[in-house]
Symmetry: C2
Subunit: 337 residues, 2 copies
């Protein structure tokens, strides 16, 4: 894994257990619609027993991004922790089958491979309950210096702030990437995640740890604690790190498209057409995948954001957060690549 | 599990590992398109490594039938063997979540829960490679006498002839059902399966073990070793058991609809409309589910076959062999129930 990479993703290695459900089930289970909530093992058992028939597919926000970027031609690697069990094997297989380099050794014991119970309501919205399991074993030892140094962009999940040791792996990766003159990207992951770690995320932005920031508008509003989406975007536009540099910001706004924030300027990018939203899981992950793959191909920011919108549109039209359609053919048909 | 059942299904308890593929992959792997082939554990590992990203959903021909019938209102039970592992828990969960009674204890050790690698080509055809694993542990001890005696129809997979001990479980169930004055149904499962056990299946039909036979036209032609579909249907029409009784035959012919063969007569039933065949896995299983659920509701054979066609049409329009749409609403909209 030391050949140069366009993109190295650090994230929680998670398998999705997806069931269709209705609003009544969400209320009965006391889960907040649209959010990601962490659960422990007994609660995972209880929720699984109560939910409907399940489909199991690999997931994990960052891993979804890695797969999408690899499919779109970026040389991509992934760092995350599974256990040596059936779901862990599925996760590793699915990365390799899509051309993502994945060299982290699975844990031989300890908690099982992480799973996210994804409850999809008839409106296509997804509500997530995550048991982190083996992800809690990700540590700085899993971050290979040569690999990080070789990657043009190292992309980090905000969710990595949840399992305690992963934060150290995250900081190690930032240090190596910047020492090698490479870029670091962060996704804010989830509005509630931002609520848990707001000060730390703002700290990372302001101390120069982050060169590229991905967020949806809800996450950005949570970061800046404002009800006004435009105010949140302006706050991002006005951010400068301790060396006075603006970062590159990519903000998604569901059916209102996305916004590229760069060098104090704001540029809106239109959404890709969608026939029917079946399952919105992975929309943000695939936007990041398309953007980063476009960036790796040398496309300008707006065209890269259009590629992101296209990848996001594909993934929300079916169950599961990994692409099923031929993203390259779709991108060619739209003249993006 | 001793409240009266409309339907008790005995089958191989299998989880499907589904990947999209192309004709080239099938040739390179040397697998016969459209068929079900048995594989051992090393071959299962090899095939999984080579195949693309996978979706995991519960399957198993008979279990798919049980789930479809339960969703359509039949009180249904299932008998089959999983191991106590993650895929075994998924399988048991998915039965219970759809209202199918499932009381067979999982194996605590021995081979893993069975998995079927389902390779779906762009034309929607599925090619199956099955590692039987824990299914080989199904034995007569797993067949509860009171449960079988309570069931109006006991439905058996031809595939049960593959794991050696399951055949004894099958014969025990036939004996109990007939002693209790109940009906026994058999599905021929697969043309190659018929090739393996032709004489035994004909023996079961002719010694009065089977009251209702499900087959697709390829399986029926394999049974009677004829290239002429009409000749195969006439041969079925003319079957009589050792007491001179005709059986009830249901023959599916893909887009040409189905045929009800009863009392020396043949009646064609039209197909249900389909927008696009995405994955044909489970078409026959769901036809049987709809027919048996209709039968349990007291519908005539032709209306029951229409309900079967409707359930089959739903399942081939998405990935996986378990219904995802609301079969009851679809059946009501068509005036079938």
């Amino acid at each position: 894994m030391s050949a140069p990479l366009d993109l190295l993703v650090l994230g929680n290695a998670i398998v999705d257990v997806i069931a269709r459900t209705d609003e009544g089930f969400l209320s009965a289970q006391g889960v907040a619609k649209g959010a990601m909530q962490l659960i422990d093992e007994p609660r995972a058992e209880e929720l699984f027993s109560a939910m409907g028939p399940a489909t199991i597919v690999s997931g994990g926000s960052g891993a979804n991004t890695a797969v999408g970027a690899a499919i779109l031609g970026a040389k991509t690697g992934f760092v995350g922790k599974v256990r040596e069990d059936e779901l862990g094997r599925l996760f590793a297989h699915d990365l390799k089958a899509t051309g993502v380099a994945f060299g982290v050794a699975p844990a031989k014991d300890g908690p099982a491979t992480a799973r996210c119970f994804v409850l999809v309501t008839p409106d296509g919205e997804r509500t997530m309950n995550t048991y982190l399991g083996a992800c809690q074993g990700l540590s700085p030892a899993d971050v290979n210096e040569a690999t990080v140094a070789s990657a043009r962009v190292t992309y980090l999940e905000g969710y990595l702030w949840d399992p305690p040791a992963a934060k150290d792996a995250f900081r190690k990766a930032v240090r190596i990437a910047h020492n090698a003159g490479q870029a670091v990207a962060l996704t804010l992951s989830d509005a509630f995640c931002v609520g848990r770690y707001r000060d730390e995320f703002l700290g990372l932005i302001r101390d120069g740890s982050i060169d590229i920031l991905f967020a949806n508008i809800g996450e950005l509003q949570s970061l800046y604690q404002t009800d006004d989406p435009d105010a949140a975007i302006r706050a991002l536009r006005d951010e400068r790190d301790n060396r006075g540099r603006h970062l590159l910001g990519l903000v998604t706004r569901s059916e209102e498209g996305s916004v590229v924030v760069k060098g104090g300027e704001i540029r809106a990018v239109e959404v890709s057409p969608v026939r029917e939203v079946v399952d919105s899981t992975g929309a943000g992950d695939l936007f990041a995948a398309g953007f980063l793959a476009g960036h790796a191909r040398g496309l300008d920011y707006v065209t890269s954001a259009r590629l992101g919108a296209l990848a996001a549109a594909e993934v929300i039209q079916h169950i599961g957060a990994r692409p099923q359609g031929d993203l390259v053919a779709l991108a060619r048909a739209r003249g993006l690549i």
